[in-house]
Subunit: 146 residues, 2 copies
Amino acid sequence: MKVSTRVEYGLIALTDIAIYSENGKTVSAPDISARESISHKYLEQILLLLRQAGFIAARKGLKGGYALSRPTDKITLTDVLNALDNGILAEMEGEYADDGLGPVINDCFWGKINNELKSYTDSLTLEHFVELCRNRTPESWDMYVI
Amino acid sequence: MKVSTRVEYGLIALTDIAIYSENGKTVSAPDISARESISHKYLEQILLLLRQAGFIAARKGLKGGYALSRPTDKITLTDVLNALDNGILAEMEGEYADDGLGPVINDCFWGKINNELKSYTDSLTLEHFVELCRNRTPESWDMYVI
DNA sequence: TAAATACCCATTGACATAGTAGGTAAGTCG
DNA sequence: CGACTTACCTACTATGTCAATGGGTATTTA
C-alpha cells in the first residue's frame, strides 16, 4: 500500500523522539532532520500536526525541542494515521443507484476490509515501533503480525 | 479506506457484466451506465482498461457489448486493483538515511500490512461478488471475511 | 445507409502531495 | 541587553492524480 511521506516521516519522527528524549531531554527538529534525512521545513509542518494532535509537547528556544506527551503505548498507529492521513482510514462515501450493485459491494467488502485494517492499526502502538528500532532484529518482526 | 471510483465502478461493471451476460449475450456500456448510474464516457475508459487487462472481451456494433473472457472465479480482487489502481497494492519506495529508523519501520510494518492486504484481496474473486449480489442477504457477508 | 456500439485521445477542474520560503514569537546564554 | 537557537505560522509552488467531459474514428448490425 502506498503511504504518504507525511505519515512515514511522522512515524519516524515520533519514534525518533521517543528514543532520543530520555531523562527529560527534548529532541529538536534539526536533530531529527539530520538523523533521519528529512527536509527540515517539511518536518516542522509534520511536527506541528503531531503537536496539535496531542502526541508531543514543544519547548522553544535554545535547548528546546519536542518530547512525547503520552506514554508510547498510548499512541496507536490509528491515532497517527488519523492525524496525518486523509485516505487510509476514511470511510467510503460514494453515491450509487439504489437498485444497482454498488451498495451491496460497497457495504460489504470495503466495510470489511476497513474493519480489518483498523483492527490492525489499533493494535500497533508507538511502543512497538520503538522496541523494534531499539533492537533491530528482523526475526522478531513476526510477533507484530495480526 | 478510500478507494478510487475507478476501482469501485470497475468492480461494479464486472459484476454487472457477469450477471447480465447469460447465454452468450453481451452487455453494452450504455446498459451498465444506466443500471448503475455511472457516467457513460467515464465507464468506457474503465471498460477499456478492463479489456486491456484481459478480463473482458468486446464486440462492436449494434447488439455489441462486453462479456467476461475468464470464469468469475479466475478474476481476483487483486487482479482488478492492479489494473485500475496505482496505490493500494503498490510497494513503498521511499529513500531513507541508512542509519536512521526509516528502513526498519518501513520494511517491517508496511511490508506486513501489505501482505495481509494482498492475501485478503487474493482470496476474493468476482465469483464472490456475483454470488453476493445475486442473493443480497447481508447475513451471509461474514463468510467472506479473512 | 443509418444507427448503435466500442475505441481512442485530448482537455479540464478540483484536489492532494511534497515540499520551499520567509517571517514571527519565545526561550537561552554570554 | 543582544545574539542565537528554536518552535510556530502562513503562504506559495510544482507535480501528479482523479474524475470526469467531449469529440472524433472504426466496426458491426438491421
